[in-house]
Amino acid sequence: MLSVGLGNASGKCLWKRPRRETEGVEMHEFAQWLAGTALSHQIQIAGWVIPLSQTIHILAVAMLLSSMLFIDLRILGVAAKSETMAQLSHRFVPWVWTSLILLALTGTLQIVAEPMRTLNGNPMFQVKMLMLAFGIVVLLSFQSSLRRHTSFWDDPRRRTLTRILAGSSFLLWCAIVITGRWIAYFQGA
């Protein structure tokens, strides 16, 4: 089975998952079934697909993180002060969604190509997906709030709160990227 993950500096996988008898059997079976499909096999045989997918994945991360950084720095009042919150978000939020779509597509492709790497009880993958779900909820809430309570985001009395929200949001997305990188170190099962 092709595995393009990394170990640590000496190349070893960091963690062996203790498997309880009945736990995660369905997911394990699904992962095994997926690994056996012709599609998964074809992707692995065509050696260029996974590297290309991972490259696009990380380019999308660049698009996502820098867009979030611009938005959050604007909330902090540090960047793009000449633009209103609405203007700046209008500019960068589409890039956030574009990158999320690209990430979903390449992410799915990578899961199909190497199901045992992520679906076989990999805790980093599970944590990443949980945080990702939360991140998307936060993003949607922000968009909604920006539409309905635009003045909140420009209100100087609310500055501390908006700053905490902006900072936490950015750290959350960084954490998602970091756990994504750690998937490779926890793929042993």
Partner: protein, 173 residues
């Protein structure tokens, strides 16, 4: 003859770096390398993402409503801070297996691209940017500026791609 001596010096330097307490600790700790590597990835994505905004402005493809100097003033601090973090993390990763990295062709290409990106930026700052008041707003950026943006974008995309390639070639499977 001199070239042989240079290569030998480099190899010895790398060997010495690998042997340092810091390098050994990072290599042997189960969490240090992955953590530093993750920070390196986050930092690099911020470098590429932020520079892309500046380059797209120079190319006249984005944010034409704002003066070039305004966009650069916002972007460049982000880029520099992210770059400093990426550089530090990169150095810490490098020393753990310096002799292997220096021999790795993806690593070599990445370093060359970084030199090119730096030279491109320097040329832009010292030459093209001097006339910025003439093309800061309203008019298209001169060809030299557009070229600088294009070269920068291409270099940093390449740095990202070859950086990933280092991972595949240093730790196959």
């Amino acid at each position: 003859m001199k070239q042989e001596v240079d290569v030998q010096f480099l190899t010895e330097l790398c060997g010495w770096l690998e042997g340092t307490a810091l390098a050994t600790w990072i290599a042997e700790s189960w969490w240090a390398f992955p953590t530093i590597e993750s920070l390196h990835v986050v930092a690099i994505t911020l470098v590429v993402g932020s520079i892309a905004v500046a380059d797209l402005r120079l190319l006249g493809l984005a944010w034409r409503s704002r003066p070039v100097t305004d966009v650069l003033r916002d972007v460049l601090p982000m880029t520099w801070v992210a770059y400093a973090v990426a550089l530090l993390c990169g150095a810490l990763l490098f020393i753990t297996q310096a002799t292997k990295y220096i021999d790795n062709s993806a690593f070599q290409i990445k370093m060359l691209l970084m030199l090119l990106a730096g030279a491109n930026m320097l040329a832009f700052e010292l030459i093209t940017f001097r006339s910025v008041s003439k093309w800061d707003r309203g008019v298209p950026v001169p060809l030299a500026g557009q070229l600088a943006g294009a070269v920068s974008l291409a270099c940093w995309l390449g740095i990202l791609v070859f950086g990933r390639q280092i991972g595949w070639t240093m730790y196959p499977g």
